[in-house]
């Protein structure tokens, strides 16, 4: 038979807001005086009386206290009574405080052709100090994303991850979808701005493999300051029409890159000349979907070559 019981007006409160607590001692708590003075303690603070204590019609003793500003994210609240020359704890409650979630921001998504998954990430916003659930929500739509077609299964990220990946079977490629992040805790719900995207417009392309070509000089006259290159598109993205750009720089301190743009995504023999400023040149290539929206691939690993 537990003698005391704490009730909080609200177990989770906005940081800095007030909270009211009541502690009641049942009349049939035989071990205590008839009308014991009920005391309160916050964490390891001093014992203090409540704002007021009264006896209820059924004989229950009730003490009420208001904590004007809850300034800690976790506070243990104790209800005690004097006991000889010490005290007895009758009950303990945990008071949590924090913030409602701010709107998640910087939502961005990439479609991975190798795993066939759309992976989105976002920034969660400032710490709420409370358990906060993030959910990636989306639905299928049409060209301008003005109205909703069928919903897509919510994507729940793994614990504490600010990223979630939607499997191919939930995606309708070449169709627009609306996608956003919802954050929720006991103090509120917020949503990120909505993105309107076709997964195929945010494909994460990988660069081609850039290779030096060994040209036999009995076929091709030796030309000083030249290099022969070849590259093949990244296989999983081969079905996408792409254009590429090549950048090269002499291995000299502070040298700038020179850019060759609008190159095809596959090249068996590419001659690059005019390379006289250094014995060794660094070259990289990257590609982007052409004629349709797309994202640049990263630059290929650097290739160090000696011009003829």
């Amino acid at each position: 038979e537990s003698c005391g019981h704490i009730r909080l007006s609200v177990p989770i409160v906005h940081l800095g807001d007030p909270v009211m607590a009541s502690c009641t001692i049942s009349p049939n708590c035989s071990k205590l005086d008839q009308e014991p003075q009920i005391l309160w303690r916050l964490e390891d603070g001093p014992n203090q009386p409540g704002d007021r204590q009264r006896r209820l019609p059924d004989g229950t003793q009730e003490s009420i206290i208001t904590l004007p500003h809850v300034n800690h994210t976790k506070t243990f609240v104790f209800c005690l009574v004097p006991w000889g020359n010490s005290f007895q704890v009758l009950d303990q409650a945990e008071l949590q405080a924090g913030y409602p979630p701010a709107s998640p921001s910087n939502l961005s998504c990439l479609m991975y052709l190798t795993t066939n998954r759309l992976v989105c990430q976002w920034e969660p916003g400032p710490e709420t100090h409370l358990p906060t659930n993030f959910t990636l929500k989306s639905f299928r739509s049409r060209a301008d994303c003005q109205y909703q077609e069928d919903s897509i299964l919510d994507c729940v990220p793994e614990d504490r991850q600010n990223t979630c990946s939607i499997a191919r079977k939930h995606l309708s490629l070449y169709q627009n979808m609306v996608i956003w992040v919802q954050a929720e805790n006991t103090l509120g719900i917020s949503e990120s701005p909505k993105l309107c995207l076709d997964p195929m417009d945010v494909v994460k392309l990988e660069p081609p493999v850039l290779q030096a070509l060994d040209v036999s000089h009995d076929l091709v006259p030796r030309q000083p300051g030249c290099l022969w290159l070849s590259w093949k598109p990244w296989e999983p993205g081969r079905f996408m029409q792409q254009e590429c750009e090549l950048r090269y720089q002499p291995q000299l301190r502070g040298a700038n890159w020179t850019l060759e743009s609008h190159l095809p995504s596959s090249e068996d023999q590419f001659k690059l000349c005019g390379l006289h400023r250094a014995p060794v040149y660094t070259l990289q290539i990257r590609c982007i979907r052409s004629l349709l929206p797309g994202l640049w691939s990263s630059w290929s690993p650097a290739l160090q070559l000696r011009p003829t």
Partner: protein, 174 residues
Amino acid sequence: PLPLPRSFLLKSLEQVRKIQAGNSVLLEKLVSGMCCATYKLCHPEELVLLGHSLGIPQASLSRCSSQVQQLTKCLSQLHRGLFLYQGLLQALAGISPELAPTLDTLQLDVANFATTIWQQMENLGVAPTAQPTQGTMPTFTSAFQRRAGGVLATSHLQRFLETAHCALNHLVQP
């Protein structure tokens, strides 16, 4: 002629290439990887008769010949064909655990392409009031029939896609 947006044609061409890539992987795995290597079934051309008896349908793209005059009929044939192959690929489910991922992705890609075509027909106001309903699909009573059906279906799909690619390519030329 019907105003077909260039982005629709470009996306459709890319979708065809994507499906072709997936389908040739499946065909390769089916024919040389599985049927030939494991089951000594190495000549798809020997399966024509079986294809008839199993009732493996072939989708026609007769209205999408190089001179695409009846564009509405071509789009509608394209959609019906994609819808048919979506059903056929579904009927192949369970063909083998190794092929399942490739088959699932291919089926989704075909379904998504069918949606692209259907939505464009709706945008043009030439879409039928109701989506087509799937005809009866072949039922395979043995693993051999399912393998053979798989080879035939993917071969038919490859030819269908080549015709579609030609027609779309013709339309996208400025």
